[in-house]
Amino acid sequence: MGVKRLFQNLSYDFRRNRALLLMILPVVIYLLVFSYVPMAGAVIAFKSYNFNDGIFGSPWCGLNNFRFFFMSGKAWQVTKNTVLYNAAFIVTQNVLEITAAIFLSEIAKPRFKKITQGAMFLPNFISWVVVGAIAYNLLSYDFGFINNVLTSMGMEKWDVYTDASDWPGIFVFLSAWKHIGYGSIVYLAAIMGISSEIYESASLDGANEWQKIRYITLPGIKPTFVVLLILAIGNIFRGNFDMFYQLVGTNGLLYNATDVIDTYVFRSLLTTYEFGMSSAIGLYQSVLCCITLVVTNLIIRRINPENALY
């Protein structure tokens, strides 16, 4: 009876929401093809891969593919670096993006607003390869622009490629510079969604600009912030490979402060062609990301169920 009832309900839902379901169909297909079907390939993490037998035909090798990661004693350090960098990026970028979005929403002149927005958005389109090349030409000890200026002013050179201490700051700055334009648009859209009537009545009640931001805008964009936060935390174990690799490259002196899981694995496996081993670490990251996502969502649901993802 239960099954029959279920089918009846389903077919009723389908008939009633046909248009909506059709609209979501492309996304469902996209996720199936690019996210769910490839998941079967995760078995390669437990296989000793060869080209002839392919992913499913190659022999099993248990957890052997994970060994190298924990053997060199770097697993903890690169995992820690990955999480700390991502945490720093999440905090700084969200603060800057929200601030930028509020400023943008307050700008009255449309032309100035568009130019500002465009200028902020531009870095998003510059690839990390180009940023890496520009950074090298700026920061190079013997030939860099910055050191040339410093020397001509009689100051000491900035030895950034042999001293790791300044790199966390450089990464946080560059990551914010590149992403702030894109992120602020999302928040700007959320701000635009807040009804103007609320602001008008607040003005009538004598609220100043700061009070409007504090009591209307910020609470209004809270749901957006929480969703973005959960999604970002869901990726906290994945390092931005392009950024770290293009800026640091193969400079061993900087690894302690700059090596993330992705760059470490790339370097270790570059010459061994072990797809199984690189997939093993990919799986390690995915499992950790999945756990953090679930836990974060759980915590948010405890605090305020309305803001949770599910």
Binding site: Y264, S268, T272
Partner: protein
């Protein structure tokens, strides 16, 4: 509606018929397309040269080559994916530095049996010495056709002769005179540094350690730092990290670095020696003789008064001739036409006209090359010595010609006018001193040590490179480096390596006795 249904049916039938029609068209009269993958990028005159080669191929073998490229910078990333993704290709460049042994063990390449080679590449099989075939063997099986070429890629120096004269210094002939030159440059020049290394700094240790000691290293697994005495007939390999010679070399480099002779950008620089020298950033380049010569030509073309002198510090020490596995052609397992590929190799490698086409390009002063007219001792023209035509630089920059097509009967050496000071003498001298060694054909089977090798690789990058370029004090740095290598499993891998090498040498000795 009926009309529409008919139209749909007709369309369906037409679509179904297309493959049949194309099968019918692809009969034996149509030349077969062979897809070759090489390293590098397409050059301006490739189409003309390959077009000329294809004309002959169609005539003789009814096939033609389509060339695809893997850029040099993507050798470690894109190259293995060609096999994993089962990309359509019939032949592919292979070398020890593209992971030939590892990929052969993973079934990426087709085994080339003796029968296949005898039947489809008989001239190649016949003319290639057994010890060269042995270099291409992995666990006794051949997976690629090795190159036949006399080439020495040891490190030599490129010195800015104009600067040396400016400071009134004598020619560089040894390490102390090199140091005097570097000191003068560091003291007097603001715009350039004596040395700036990049991702490749192996020539530095060639000059300081391998050449003077007559050592050779194993490039297949460079991260475990194994070397051997190249003058011995059956040498026992050793890990050079534990030797006094390594310590001395590292101490020298550390001193250079502390003196400011090595740029502090060396760990992050990604430009090649050639780029840094032609851009006027360095006063000394350490590279192989061919590259130093080409760079010297580049500098002369700039007409700034700067010029390069080539210096070889290896004296009369024996050096190792470049491995035949440094440029090969393999047939991937997914190839559709392995027999035809072998026939093409046999033709291009052994036919003089075809070999000149593929290696040198089109003949003519307005094309790539022409005979320089230098004479042999018997008065005949030396066909190996070639002058550069107007379009010389528009062909040969990628590695179409650096593979199994190479044949030492048709060696190419630039004419005197295309050589910088010192090149010809060094080239001739090195050829006389260079030898092969039985260990060149030894391949360490890494199958059971992939985890250790990956962990060691990361230590090698993190601790080895800064130490080797003088950024870390060797008095503590060497011990720390070795300790990290051992923690990553170096001892286990070395033991296995020595065991496999001993087994290999014993087998070779037994085979030689049996003969």
């Amino acid at each position: 509606m009926k009309k529409f249904t008919r139209f749909l049916s007709a369309l369906l039938i037409a679509v179904l018929l297309i493959p049949t029609a194309s099968v019918a068209l692809a009969d034996s009269a149509e030349p077969t397309e062979l897809i070759f993958y090489f390293l590098g990028e397409e050059m301006e005159d490739d189409k003309v040269v390959i077009g000329a080669i294809n004309e002959k191929l169609i005539e003789k073998l009814n096939c033609y080559m389509t060339i695809e490229y893997v850029p040099f910078g993507e050798v470690n990333t894109t190259y293995p994916l060609l096999f994993a993704s089962q990309t359509r290709m019939d032949a592919v460049f292979a070398a020890y530095f593209t992971g030939y042994a590892t990929l052969a063990n993973k079934d990426a390449y087709m085994e080339l049996t003796e029968e296949m080679l005898k039947e489809y590449a008989p001239l190649t099989w016949e003319d290639t010495p057994a010890e060269v075939w042995d270099q291409a063997r992995i666990n006794g099986k051949i997976y690629a056709v090795p190159q036949l070429y006399i080439e020495n890629i040891q490190g030599v120096l490129g010195i800015r002769g104009d600067l040396r004269e400016k400071y009134g210094l004598p020619e560089v002939t040894d390490i102390p005179s090199l140091e005097n030159y570097m000191a003068a440059v560091a003291e007097n020049e603001d715009e350039l540094v004596p040395l700036l290394f990049g991702t490749m700094y192996n020539y530095l240790y060639d000059i300081l350690m391998f050449e003077p000691n007559e050592w050779a290293s194993d490039g297949n697994v460079s991260q475990i730092c194994m070397a051997y005495e190249l003058t011995e007939d059956a040498p026992t390999p050793f890990c050079y990290l534990y030797t006094d010679e390594y310590r001395e070399a590292v101490e020298t480099v550390y001193r250079w670095n502390q003196n400011g002779w090595i740029s502090r950008d060396s760990l992050s620089n990604t430009h090649t020696n050639r780029e840094n020298m032609t851009n006027g950033r360095i006063a000394v380049m350490m590279d192989n003789s061919g590259t130093v010569n080409t760079t010297g030509q580049d500098i002369l073309k700039q007409n700034t008064g700067a010029y390069l002198e080539m210096v070889d510090l290896s004296g009369d020490a024996k050096i190792l001739r470049y491995a035949a596995t440094g440029g090969m052609l393999a047939i991937p397992t997914q190839s559709q036409h392995p027999e035809l590929v072998l026939q093409v190799v046999d033709y291009l490698r052994n036919d003089k006209e075809m070999n000149y086409l593929v290696q040198r390009g089109i003949e003519g002063e307005d094309a790539q090359w022409y005979l320089a007219g230098e004479l042999n001792e018997d008065g005949t023209v030396n066909e190996n010595i070639v002058a550069f035509g107007e379009r010389n630089s528009l062909y040969g920059g990628n590695w179409i010609c650096w593979s199994a097509f190479r044949n030492w009967d048709y060696q190419t050496l630039p004419a005197a006018e295309n050589c910088i000071s010192g090149y010809r003498d060094i080239w001739n001298d090195m050829n006389e001193r260079s030898i092969n060694n039985i260990m060149q054909a030894f391949t360490f089977d890494t199958t059971n040590y992939q985890n250790e090798l990956a962990a060691i690789q990361s230590v090698y990058d993190e601790y080895g490179k800064p130490l080797n370029l003088g950024f870390v004090d060797p008095s503590t740095g060497i011990d720390e480096y070795i300790a990290m290598m051992e923690a990553a499993g170096l001892t286990t891998v070395i033991d296995a390596y020595l065991q496999q090498a001993a087994d290999y040498l014993a087998a070779q000795g037994a085979a030689a006795q049996a003969e």
